[in-house]
């Protein structure tokens, strides 16, 4: 193994339109999609991409880079670069947890290359941009030569590096509905240094109903085999009166629910321990941002 050269041999294809790309995916075997390359090229150098005869560069497909706002929400093309997302003022005002998550990723010279769709398709359990999209109730648009289907972001992941994508399919866009009401969002991340991959990440998106929690969604990264959507614990909070003790109790509940592992970034014990405080703090922050006392 080296990190200087790509030892693997493959053919390079660059379709100029989406139909052509989908045709390639349906006709050829062992195609990997190149968008930003910030995961794929590293993996190729590390020789952890066994099945690849073709690299398909999707940077010639303009529609995959577009962003479109409507009253219902925003549709982000799968190959929109992270830097274009984090510097988008409208994105920041509507979905601050998403832009905070993107800003917390890697380095500027990586975010200029990396796409948001790549963060999903690489399917790392640590993927920072995923949690906010899940918590905002985002939907992924998946296309193939057979047609288009939509999958809730929370149902996209199966295992580390594995998603519901079939071999002839690709992620083309991410739709996020506009949050309604008195909303507050928080994304927090624990990492060794700022550009590091997270030891733990957490997202909270809530809508306040007076002194009570209306709707709430929480997710965590780096604590399970896939980005973890805390569906049941979140649902149990709806309608409850917000208080410091509720925030603390929720932290305990989430920590108790997790079954993280030891890995090269941190330990299971640390993850469970820090989760208590992270959840309580993020909940309080999201609540305060929603205008709650």
């Amino acid at each position: 193994m080296n990190t200087k050269h790509i030892m693997k041999e493959y053919d390079y294809l660059k379709p100029s339109g989406l139909d052509e790309a989908l045709q390639i995916l349906s006709e050829k075997e062992k195609v990997k999609i190149y968008a930003g390359g910030t995961d794929l090229i590293v993996k190729l150098k590390m020789e952890t991409v066994p099945d690849m005869d073709y690299m398909m560069d999707i940077n010639g497909i303009e529609e995959l880079k577009q962003v479109e706002y409507t009253d219902e929400g925003v549709r982000i093309g799968a190959n929109r670069k992270l830097w274009d997302i984090e510097t988008d003022q409208r994105m920041t005002s509507l979905f601050p947890a998403l832009t905070d998550a993107v800003k917390a990723m890697a380095a500027i010279s990586v975010r200029n290359l990396a796409s948001i769709g790549g963060n999903f398709c690489n399917a790392s359990p640590v993927a920072d941009a995923v949690g906010p999209v899940m918590c905002y109730g985002g939907t992924l648009e998946i296309a193939s030569a057979r047609g288009v289907r939509k999958v809730p972001a929370k149902d996209f992941f199966l295992a580390p590096g594995v998603t519901v994508l079939e071999k002839d399919e690709m992620l083309t866009g991410i739709f996020i509905p506009t949050p309604k009401g008195d909303v507050g969002h928080a994304f927090t991340k624990m990492a060794r240094t700022k550009s590091d991959i997270a030891k733990l990440s957490l997202c909270v998106a809530l809508a306040r109903d007076g002194g009570r929690i209306g709707h709430i969604a929480m997710s965590m990264g780096a604590v399970a085999a896939r980005p973890l959507f805390l569906e049941e614990i979140s649902a149990g909070l709806a309608g409850k009166e917000m208080s410091e003790s509720l925030a603390m109790e929720t932290g305990e509940a989430v920590s108790g629910f997790l079954q993280p592992i030891d890995d090269n970034r941190t330990t299971a014990v640390y993850r469970k321990d820090v989760t208590k405080t992270m959840v309580a703090d993020a909940l309080a922050l999201a609540w305060a941002r929603s205008g709650g006392a």
């Binding site: 990190t3 200087k4 693997k8 041999e9 190149y34 390359g37 090229i41 590293v42 010279s109």
Partner: protein, 161 residues
């Protein structure tokens, strides 16, 4: 393995090159065009030594397949100074001694150039955050951050006059 003819504009000069599908931009710059200012550090976008400009944006050239850079306008550290005259960023790095062993310097200078094109009036926190992907293993960050702020001050002064 497929072969491709690509066109690059590197430091203002048009280059046509034949590349293999698995060749990387950093190797084309260093080994084919002899622009060795761009450094190979880690090879996996952790260190920033290979940073070049794609238009006005900084990118890590160790991660870019050369064939995918077809049509790009690239500036390496060699292309910043014009007619032997240093840019404000380069001048501030020299004057403030923001260099120890020098290995990270091209990447630092290129990334700082992108920073100031994007935000001509950064504060210290902005500079530190922007440069967080560029490692100096001599750990000379204090002078580097000062140099970027110094360059910003000079450029603002020049723009005002």
């Amino acid at each position: 393995m497929s072969k491709h003819t690509i066109n690059l504009t590197v430091n203002g000069k048009r280059r046509t090159l034949d590349v293999q599908s698995n060749e990387l931009l950093i190797d084309v710059l260093r080994d084919r065009l002899y622009l060795t200012g761009t450094k190979y550090g880690c090879g996996i976008a952790e260190c920033g030594a290979c940073t070049v400009l794609h238009g006005d944006r900084s990118v890590m050239s160790c991660l870019v397949p050369a064939v995918a850079a077809d049509g790009w306008e690239i500036t390496t550290s060699e292309g910043l100074a014009k007619d032997g005259e240093l840019t404000p960023v380069q001048e501030s790095f020299v004057n403030l001694g923001a260099i120890q062993c020098g290995f990270c310097t091209p990447g630092m200078v290129v990334t700082s150039t992108a920073l100031l094109r994007e935000n001509p009036d950064p504060d210290e926190a902005y500079v530190k955050d922007y440069l967080r992907g560029n490692f100096c293993r001599c750990t000379g960050y204090v002078a580097i951050v000062q140099a970027v702020l110094d360059a910003a001050g000079k450029m603002k002064g020049a723009a005002a006059t």
